[in-house]
Symmetry: D2
Subunit: 264 residues, 4 copies
Amino acid sequence: MATMDMRTWRTGIAEVVSTDTEEEILVRGHKLSELTGSISFADMMYLMFAGTLPTKAQARVIDALLVASVEHGIAPPSMIARCYASYGTSIQSAVAGGVMAFGDRMGGLGEQLAKLMSERLTAISDDPQSIPEERLREVARDVVADAQTKGERVPGYGIPLHGMDPRAPKVMGIAKSEGTFGVFGRLGELIEEELADQRGGRRVAMNLDGVGAVVVLDLGLDWRTTRMFLITPRSVSMGAHFIEEQDQDTTWRHIPADWIDYPD
Amino acid sequence: MATMDMRTWRTGIAEVVSTDTEEEILVRGHKLSELTGSISFADMMYLMFAGTLPTKAQARVIDALLVASVEHGIAPPSMIARCYASYGTSIQSAVAGGVMAFGDRMGGLGEQLAKLMSERLTAISDDPQSIPEERLREVARDVVADAQTKGERVPGYGIPLHGMDPRAPKVMGIAKSEGTFGVFGRLGELIEEELADQRGGRRVAMNLDGVGAVVVLDLGLDWRTTRMFLITPRSVSMGAHFIEEQDQDTTWRHIPADWIDYPD
Amino acid sequence: MATMDMRTWRTGIAEVVSTDTEEEILVRGHKLSELTGSISFADMMYLMFAGTLPTKAQARVIDALLVASVEHGIAPPSMIARCYASYGTSIQSAVAGGVMAFGDRMGGLGEQLAKLMSERLTAISDDPQSIPEERLREVARDVVADAQTKGERVPGYGIPLHGMDPRAPKVMGIAKSEGTFGVFGRLGELIEEELADQRGGRRVAMNLDGVGAVVVLDLGLDWRTTRMFLITPRSVSMGAHFIEEQDQDTTWRHIPADWIDYPD
Amino acid sequence: MATMDMRTWRTGIAEVVSTDTEEEILVRGHKLSELTGSISFADMMYLMFAGTLPTKAQARVIDALLVASVEHGIAPPSMIARCYASYGTSIQSAVAGGVMAFGDRMGGLGEQLAKLMSERLTAISDDPQSIPEERLREVARDVVADAQTKGERVPGYGIPLHGMDPRAPKVMGIAKSEGTFGVFGRLGELIEEELADQRGGRRVAMNLDGVGAVVVLDLGLDWRTTRMFLITPRSVSMGAHFIEEQDQDTTWRHIPADWIDYPD
């Protein structure tokens, strides 16, 4: 950890080529001019994070996760974007404001689950996918027990505003049918079982944040990319709601004084 | 334009359904649980902005534009995201910071061209796609002349750091081969011709911002969505560069004192 | 307007001195170690923007404007900051989110008035303070007439949520008693008179945004600094409301589904 | 921690009064119209966070801390704000971008020290100011030892770009001369002594982040306010540098391709 100036940079993500004979951008070694038109956005997103192109099955799972994550109605990030529209900000500020709103209690829980699972399983084996069922069950038990001890919830389970998350099982199902479902997905299910046992059978279903986390990890991606599979697709929602609010020509979205309690 | 409280909202984008019998999110009238796994992210993005699903050809053009816009090396937005990583911010703050960096001089030029073209052609006809070539040529002449009078450049043409933009012609070519190319694309070409005539034949090629603008307009989308076709894909780059910079464990990206000139 | 690298910088604001014999930061030529403890924050803010230290009277006016601008209850920027607290973001993200919310329709109107006044009066004279009353009255008439023609409101007048702005007349009164009141303040009053005449005598009082604009201009500051006299003090409110919301341990501030109208 | 709607709010910070007979904003029970013109910004900032007005001595210490924190040349936050200016963003976006840049490795270290000290001393006594010297020395020893065990640095000590921080000792001196210096300041000194002992006498001086932390805690403020004593004053710097960069009419601040290393 040394302080760095703005002159020294190293990247393996992309190289900008600009010579007398060639104008190109090499992304993970691939010519962007060749990728353009031949791969999908889902392929490209995977290439950026994994360094290699995904299989057709992996790409279908990514598309499913992205599509499921694009829109959730007037939820906090789109609410923020719409408020900004009513204040007269730019669309990029509104999207930035919505993205920033993904904190530790809203939008960030998938990352927390991914980090937790990643640390637990890589501690057991360099090849987490080889960890046997019974070992996963022990981990699930530990995860639930530790949360209980700390008086915390396991991140990625349960959902406000819905009886259950309608998107989560769908994405999980696609990961299974496409064959990308692995130990992380299985660990997610085992944690769900443990939570149900604790509650005398009452199920606390994995939500989309949780499913996104296990799907991303089973695709072999870094746990730190989890949040991007929410931020990138949901930015579309922030933009769409910003434009719709502009069309409604509202202004100054605010809390009326009589909604506020002033304790003495 | 009336001040609005936080209680009154209207949206045609999505409806959250949560009843005893159903948990669903209806996006532009489609069940999200059915869209998930059956359409691509490009389809979904078009659905969000256009209100209807795109044709296969339209979806291919959107994918091409998105893929071409994902990465541009250590360019301003990824530079900002990497600096933030070195300062120890969250990934969502880094992406927000990169998104906010898309101002009027960097990243916003496509929107300016889209707005300008949209206003000029809708003023001529409610069905811009029906405007004849000769009329478009007059508009191109006016656009270039007006810019010259104001001493401004026409937004969306020319590019720093490259002799020419390697991505722009590729995307434009796909719009043509897929058949989505229309009057806006043609107007873009005519403006390019006008600019070349002015410069005694020296070409100032349309850049990716410009091509993105005309492609989006020819897809029938609102000019205000233009910026989203940069913000959403480029967010992936911001996230990838943030993670790479974290892995390099840099800290405190800064300008050394001896790079700064203090005029007396 | 040339593209710039990150190596070439010029500033007259501050110089960082770090030698074997001296460690100092020179702000506008003054030693920060000597300013610290000898001047107030209001003095420092003026020094940063004006390049010189203010008179006692000017400092008192700045303090009055800053104090009046710190807090406005649970208004949009503090509402945003509190929402962020409920989402589990950092305090700096919450303040950034509140600052970004100051758009063209909320928080930005003072800047618009300052720009408009500055452009009109500098077009008349290099020394605006020398412009005579009758000329100012003509300008006021033009400003109101132009707004009417465009079907717009003159920015900085009228206020939502209050019958009138309780802070504006107080700050204006202090500018007068301290003797910093000048042509910009007078122009503000004349515009108010014009607006009243138009409305058959019904007064549309200058609000704090408007008063802040004229006070800042009469202090000899650049119109672009206007927004800072709102952003900087109000950031305190964003931080205070963020902390209070954290203490209330709320989560996921959102719009309940039944507050949303879904048009068919 | 219950999900909250946008209708239910409680605040003790400020109450907006708007009746037929009165227009007022009550801040911590004080009429804003009376505070305006009678107190300084430093008084107001303390009132917002502490709930009561400061003594003259406390206000002088706050002014000293604020003044010392306003400007640090073209440092990361002002560098970011200047880049944004070159990209053509708004001044509020530039300030927001600079504020967000205060992460865990840059700008956030004072908060970390304040949290750490606050937790350690409140664990010992409900009245930390009553904790005797020898007990503080034990805490200092523990803090340094724990950091060593974790292979971390104690936050708030040492500084990049300077041999020592020229601002820190000045602010600490003022806290002593004004009599607000207390156990937190003393603990800061004892930690500095411990660090020096470890390094065979080589001093690692407390920096401004560290001094800000102890000064704020000795003023009786919540550790979470620490960051605000950097964010609020430094926002002035971000605004000033944004305007100066605009005047220089730069565009597209970027990293030239030949500064980037592409590992094979």
